[in-house]
């Protein structure tokens, strides 16, 4: 995940001529697109590790609520996303010479809520795709449209924070909170049905 996001930064640096283009206008979009792609690579592997040795059967047979498996997978993916964001965000800012005008609190909040939004449905879709023939393709096709609201809210919130004079990111942060709440509850309700086949 980390290597991938660094490669994306590397590619963007050559794809966009920062000397001629006013990069600050597309900076939030570039940042979150890199996180979306890197997240997709990482999250899609969440359940794939269990397939070769069929260790998922062992996990399902273990005493206890199956929900804990989902929550554990979700937490792991979330922590990896946060770690990736924590390392990649300063690199993004420094390599693209983006001045920091915002306040830390809302920026950390948007990174945390954005990471949560990306992993919630991603973990559920990863469980589905692990059991399918063309799983990786289906994961990608389904994840992108579902994550568009996250992308819109995170990009707009980041843009509001970084613009001079700074805008109000809270409308977008509230949207992100609503998305995170809905897509945390829904997989929890539906997750049990996944194991009945």
């Amino acid at each position: 995940m980390m290597a991938f996001v660094l490669m994306v930064i590397f590619v963007f640096a050559f794809a966009v001529d920062t000397g001629r283009v006013q990069f600050s206008l597309v900076f939030p979009g570039t940042l979150w697109m890199a996180f979306l792609f890197a997240g997709m690579i990482g999250i899609s592997r969440t359940y794939a590790h269990e397939v070769p040795e069929d260790t998922l059967t062992g996990l399902i047979l273990a005493p206890g609520d199956r929900m804990t498996i989902f929550l554990a997978k979700l937490t792991t993916a979330f922590l990896f996303m946060i770690a990736m964001e924590a390392i990649a965000t300063p690199i993004f800012f420094s390599l693209f010479n983006e001045p920091w005008n915002g306040s830390w609190g809302p920026m950390i909040l948007v990174l945390v809520l954005g990471a949560l939004g990306l992993v919630e449905l991603g973990t559920l879709l990863s469980a589905i795709s692990a059991n399918l023939k063309s799983g990786e393709m289906i994961f990608t096709v389904l994840l992108f449209p579902f994550e568009i609201p996250v992308l819109i809210c995170t990009v707009e919130a980041t843009q509001a924070m970084l613009s001079v004079p700074s805008g109000n990111p809270w409308l977008w942060l509230h949207g992100l909170m609503a998305y995170d709440a809905i897509f945390l509850v829904l997989p929890l309700l539906l997750y049990e049905y996944l194991w009945e086949v």
């Binding site: 449905l121 559920l124 589905i128 059991n131 399918l132 023939k133 063309s134 393709m137 289906i138 096709v141 389904l142 992108f144 449209p145 579902f146 568009i148 609201p149 819109i152 809905i182 897509f183 829904l186 539906l190 049905y193 996944l194 009945e196 086949v197």
Partner: protein, 229 residues
Amino acid sequence: MKRLFAKDWWIWIVLPIMLLALYYDFIGSPNDVQLGASARILYFHIGSAAVAGIAFTVTAVASIGYLIQRTVVWDIWAAASAEIGTVFTTMILVSGTIWGRVAWGAWWTWDPRLTATLILWVIFAGYLLLREWSDNFERRATYSAIIALIAYIDVPIDYMTIRWWRSIHPVIFTNQGINMPVSMQIPMFLSMGAMTLVFILWMAVRMRLMRAEMGVVDLKNAIRSHIEG
């Protein structure tokens, strides 16, 4: 010909209603004061939107039914309705794009309503791909039911976009009534009714075809096990 429509005798009821709707859409209604004759695409556009909404609601209800009861019939209802709903969503997008070029001067704008509809279309296209690429029946039915329920969240959001956010789409159905003259309401509701009847007819035919497809698969499996066993 007689045998072909023996099961679907009621096509003869749907057909005159469709013709009546077409008459009102093109001849029996006045031109719009500002947009002229181009506004007639509205009847087709709103009719498609109403049917897509109904179709995805049927898919969501049938998906809940499948997850609770695990019977094949729910899966057939959900899949047939999702397929038809996706076709009607395509019709919304195509008719909207053409109309947008005439009314707004642009083929496409990233308006909340357009974005939400496009997301809905892409998600249900993914739903259909998931069904196409799955070989195990039970997995296909369960996974697609889960995806349909998650995707359905976008349907009420899509409906409310023009009420919650600033949009270039006009709000026609308001709390104060229908924001449209009666002479235009008649063709609009007739189109909605005719297209809903087309949806019902299409559902009946598609579900019959799906049952036949499943019968063929069962037959193949029975022959295979007979030869091998």
